[in-house]
């Protein structure tokens, strides 16, 4: 239960206020900053044509950004971000790639890429996109996607999940009956999930839905395995614990005790004996 939600949920919760803030900052407002400052500088700053292209790109980026965030925020709980928003994210990525790979007209500092992405300390466009990309990576969304849609394995998982959930739905009044009837479906789902876990084809959507299902199964319907073999386990354990007692007792009683033979040291120990030597010598 709760697989991965711990960390992932924290990340997404942490990002939600930022996403909302971003929503409010979106394109229409880009040009409406301090007018005096703005117009003079941008006029002086070289090529108007390039300027216009950049503005277009930037506007485009803003629109797509908006649509992605609008999709992502409602999908935060329960997490469906990969499933619901992968199209929007793909579009956003395309426009960002356009910006960053813009090679047309001129080189060096004149390119849109440099102009939009790296011209200042803040590098707002870059940062905004980078944040979203991080979220996407942490969610492992790419692992559930293939081509331009959900991968086959994800779809199969969804089917199994729906099967289990509908079984739960149909039996939800009688929990003991539910455990019996739905065990096969649930087990199938669980095993499929374990395989996916091993193959690393999980994304946050799947993890979250599986967590919820497991919580339903174990906590709400209480279908975990009961602890019912206490007696045999205790019996075997106490037998095992009994063995060393027998062993030590029998070796105490039957084994011959190891004796050490003392050896007397050979030395002139007392003053007396030394005096004897001296007496002899004198």
């Amino acid at each position: 239960l709760l697989t991965f939600t711990g960390s992932s949920a924290m990340v997404s919760l942490h990002l939600v206020p930022r996403l909302i803030a971003l929503l409010l900052l979106l394109p229409g407002r880009i040009r409406s900053s301090s007018p005096v400052f703005n117009s003079l500088l941008s006029d002086l700053q070289g090529d108007p044509e390039l300027e216009e292209r950049c503005r277009d790109l930037l506007r485009d980026f803003g629109r797509r950004y908006e649509s992605y965030v609008k999709c992502a925020v409602p999908s935060a709980r329960p997490v469906r971000i990969c499933e619901n928003c992968h199209i929007q994210f793909e579009m956003l990525r395309v426009v960002y790639n356009n910006i960053s790979s813009d090679q047309s007209e001129g080189s060096g500092s004149n390119r849109s890429a440099t102009f939009l992405l790296r011209a200042d300390r803040l590098m707002l466009v870059y940062m905004l996109f980078q944040n979203l990309e991080d979220v996407w990576d942490v969610a492992h969304c790419s692992q559930c996607l293939s081509g331009d849609g959900l991968s086959n394995i994800t779809l199969r998982y969804m089917a199994k999940l729906n099967q289990s959930l509908s079984c739960f739905e149909s039996q939800k009044n009688n929990h003991s009956e539910l455990c019996r009837v739905c065990r096969a479906d649930y087990k199938d789902l669980n095993e499929f999930y374990s395989i996916m876990e091993k193959n690393q084809t999980l994304c946050i959507d799947i993890e979250d839905s599986m967590n919820a299902t497991r919580r339903l199964w174990s906590k709400d319907f209480n279908c975990s395995f009961p602890r019912e073999e206490t007696v045999p386990v205790i019996a075997v354990s106490s037998f095992m614990l009994f063995l060393p007692i027998i062993f030590y007792l029998s070796s105490f009683l039957h084994s011959e005790q190891k004796k050490r033979r003392l050896i007397h040291p050979k030395r002139a120990k007392s003053n007396n004996s030394l005096m004897n030597i001296q007496d002899k010598h004198s």
Partner: protein, 782 residues
């Protein structure tokens, strides 16, 4: 023989009180019944072996084994250099370049020691990991199967069976092939560095048995670690590499021949022990300090830098090869066998100090229990098959207890993406959760330690930790001293980490500002240090080892405080575990200083007397007779001007060792032969080195009847300037001389330089400060 061994009648001190300090009686081995007896004239190391009908009649005393004995089977190392004429000659012949090459080859040997020790550590680590992994995988699958289908008691039996079988293999090789490889090996290495030659301790066979044994015992799930044996392994590697040959394999590489003597070998062994520590804990400085602390008796300051070199090489080698094994070449993140992981340096909590009250007590309790258990084992469980059975039983019970703990635990924790549970067991927990008792028990001890240090707060419930501490404490205590090769470091760390973490959790509960003290992992670290310090009682080296293992100097202060307290509190009750085991093995171990109240004892009372001496030019028959006399297995013989026929001792002019005499006899260096055959090759120091370290026994040397009448000139071969003291020298003075110079024999002379006695290690080691003042240990055959 008659002209050498004489019977001298001594009057005993009889009714006179003993002159020992503070009026405390010296326990004189045999007791009152044997006060008056005639003595055999003896000398040298009191190394009697074989039957001794003479003493048997007077002392039929057989007592159960206890700690107050000194065994006769241990001899001293010949650390002191014999500056005889051969040595001087060789020194003259050696060019300046020769000395430079020697110095360089010392460094080469140290590098080799480091590399080989690192490789062995790497090998042990990988094999244990795989073997344990396989075992846990099998059991885990089995448990999963039976959780569903019913019949978990079968899993229990499977677990116990697997454990017993693996441990049985380890115990069999140790018990039947090389009993000296049992235990952690640290006591033995400590003795070796102290200057005691423990038989077979640095043989290749011991190394092989040690390595295989430790793999079996760790993979067999005993409550043991692989760190202690690493130190022993390093020492064996050092002893082997520095000799450039293997006597066991009968292979001589003809290199490093100069190092074939005890002095050089012991220096390299200290380097090897340091390399072992360094590979075990990733603590090169700690390794050097370990060698310094344990072997500081006669320390060569020049050696320190070389030892440090060996340590560094060893940890680097281990690190490098493990990184290759883990497919992360170059990412050196496994400096030691045990990896504490990284701790952040926020040591703000003053509550560490609270822990200190407990730390020594638990360690002392551990030692006392283990002491009684070891005595019982020595007395009753001395047959190899019994020892193997005991080890198997412990393994089975360990598995059973672990299983029962896991089975009855209700502590379920959610699985995390980043947590390091390698074998999470679900059992009766909800899906997606694991049994948190299983992280502690269903795992190799190293991993359990790491999860106790680093799992986020809330990973363990207090009751789980409490039960775990208690069980593991008794299991570890029971396990140490079994006939398997295994160390006590990791179990101690684990016990300490468990109660340290428990303490941390409690503290966070009862204090209002729990958030400051929120990280129970740090308490686990401090608890681990305290427990380990309470058990082994090492000070400086242990602090540095732990600081290096955590990789954070900031923890130095709390760890030091905790270790200090643990030592003070623990020493109040009982000695350190290693010292207990050294005592129980009856090793003549010289501590740092002589017992405090021993100044009243003089060399005259300490020495062995009278002494078997040889003349400068001695008859071969006499020498052969003395050497082959089984009742007086002496090793050093003072050479005197002339042995009188009466009891008058002669003037000392040198000291010759048994090993030298044997080589002389083997090469038949007799005066008559040199005269008759002028072209005979002159004996060189090399001939003595070639026979080292296993000098043939005297029985294997054939001396014909004619040769017995020849004479042997010892002048060239004896050490012409042995250390001597006068009879009035006090015991502490003798002790200091002995310990600082690493002597083996110290001749006691009278005012006219006549030999009256000989002090050896056993004469000094037998005095110790007991509860009732100065006590004397008895000599016994073991």
């Amino acid at each position: 023989m008659a002209n050498i061994t004489k019977k001298v009648s001594w009057s005993s001190r009889g009714d006179e009180p003993a002159p020992a300090g503070e009026g405390t009686p010296l326990l004189n081995g045999a007791g009152g019944a044997a006060r008056s007896y005639s003595r055999q004239v003896t000398a040298g190391d009191v190394d009697s072996t074989g039957s001794q009908p003479f003493f048997f009649i007077f002392f039929p005393l057989e007592i159960p084994h206890n700690e107050k004995l000194l065994s006769l089977k241990y001899e001293s190392l010949d650390y002191d250099n014999s500056e005889n004429q051969l040595f001087l000659e060789e020194e003259r012949r050696m060019s300046y370049m020769g000395f430079r090459c020697l110095e360089i080859s010392r460094w080469v040997v140290c590098a080799l020691i480091g590399i080989l020790t690192g490789l062995i550590a790497c090998f042990i680590d990988i094999v244990v990991e795989n073997l344990a992994g396989l075992k846990y995988k099998v059991i885990k699958e089995n448990i999963e199967k039976f959780t569903e289908a019913g019949g978990l008691s079968i899993s229990l039996i499977l677990w116990a069976f697997l454990n017993s079988v693996i441990v049985m293999m380890g115990a069999i090789i140790v018990a039947f092939f090389e009993p000296i490889a049992a235990g952690s090996g640290i006591p033995q290495i400590k003795c070796y560095l102290n200057g005691v030659k423990i038989p077979r301790v640095v043989r290749l066979k011991t190394l092989v048995v040690k390595v295989c044994g430790v793999i079996c015992s760790v993979a067999g799930g005993l409550a043991v670690g692989k760190e202690g044996p690493m130190i022993h392994s390093g020492a064996v590697v050092a002893a082997g590499v520095s000799q450039g040959r293997s006597t066991s394999l009968k292979k001589d590489f003809k290199i490093f021949e100069y190092f074939r003597r005890d002095t050089e070998k012991r220096d390299f062994v200290s380097a090897g022990a340091a390399a072992g520590v360094s590979a075990a804990f990733g603590a090169p400085v700690g390794g050097v300090l370990f060698s310094l602390e344990e072997g500081a008796s006669f320390w060569n300051q020049m050696l320190t830098w070389r030892i440090f070199f060996a340590s560094m090489i060893s940890t680097f080698t281990l690190n490098f090869f493990l990184s290759i094994y883990h497919n992360k070449t170059g990412e050196l993140s496994n400096p030691g066998l045990i990896n504490f992981g990284r701790f952040d340096s926020d040591v703000s909590s003053p509550a560490f100090l609270h822990l200190q009250g407990m730390c020594g007590l638990l360690g002392a309790l551990f030692n006392v229990l283990n002491y009684w258990l070891t005595i019982f084992r020595i007395r009753y469980i001395h047959r190899p098959c019994l020892q193997v059975m005991e080890a198997m039983l412990v393994a089975a019970v360990t598995a059973t207890v672990s299983f029962a703990m896991i089975y009855f635990s209700d502590d379920c924790q959610p699985l995390g993406e980043d947590q390091a549970e390698n074998y999470p067991l679900q059992l009766f927990c909800a899906d997606g959760e694991y049994n948190s008792m299983a992280t502690a028990f269903f795992n190799t001890p190293e991993r359990s330690v790491r999860s106790l240090f680093h799992n986020p707060p809330g990973s363990y419930n207090p009751p789980t930790l409490g039960v775990f501490t208690l069980t593991y404490f008794f299991l570890a205590c029971w396990t140490y001293g079994l006939t398997v090769s295994a160390g006590v470091f990791i179990p101690s760390l684990l016990i300490g980490a468990a109660w340290g973490r428990l303490f941390g959790i409690m503290l966070a509960h009862i204090t209002p500002y729990g958030s400051i003290w929120a990280d129970p992992g740090k308490y686990a670290l401090i608890g681990a240090a305290a427990q380990l310090g309470g058990i082994v009682r090492m000070t400086l080296s242990l602090t540095v080892i732990l600081v290096e293992a955590t990789g954070n100097v900031t923890y130095g202060f709390p760890i030091m405080l905790v270790l200090m307290t643990a030592k003070i509190v623990g020493d109040y009750f009982v000695e350190g575990l290693y010292d207990i085991h050294i005592k129980l093995q009856s090793v003549p171990f010289l501590h740092w200083e002589a017992p405090a109240t021993s100044h009243a004892l003089t060399a005259r009372e300490v020495m062995s007397s009278p002494v078997t001496c040889f003349n400068r030019v001695e008859k071969v028959g006499t020498i052969v007779d003395v050497l082959s006399n089984t009742s007086t297995n002496h090793n050093g013989f003072p050479v005197v001007t002339r042995v009188m026929d009466d009891d008058e001792p002669g003037k000392i002019c040198g000291l010759i060792l048994r090993s030298q005499l044997i080589v002389l006899l083997k090469h038949k260096v007799f005066v008559e032969r040199t005269r008759s055959r002028l072209n005979q090759r002159k004996l060189q120091l090399k001939d003595f080195r070639d026979a080292y370290p296993r000098f043939p026994p005297i029985q294997s040397i054939h001396v014909s009847q004619d040769e017995r009448e020849c004479m042997m000139d010892l002048t060239e071969f004896m050490n012409p300037t042995p250390y001597t003291v006068t009879q009035e020298t006090s015991l502490p003075r003798v002790f200091k001389l002995f310990r600082a110079l690493g002597l083996r024999h110290l001749v006691v002379v009278d005012s006219e330089n006549r030999v009256v006695g000989l002090v050896t290690r056993k004469d000094l080691a037998r005095y110790h400060l007991g509860k009732h003042g100065l006590e004397e240990l008895q000599l016994a055959q073991t």
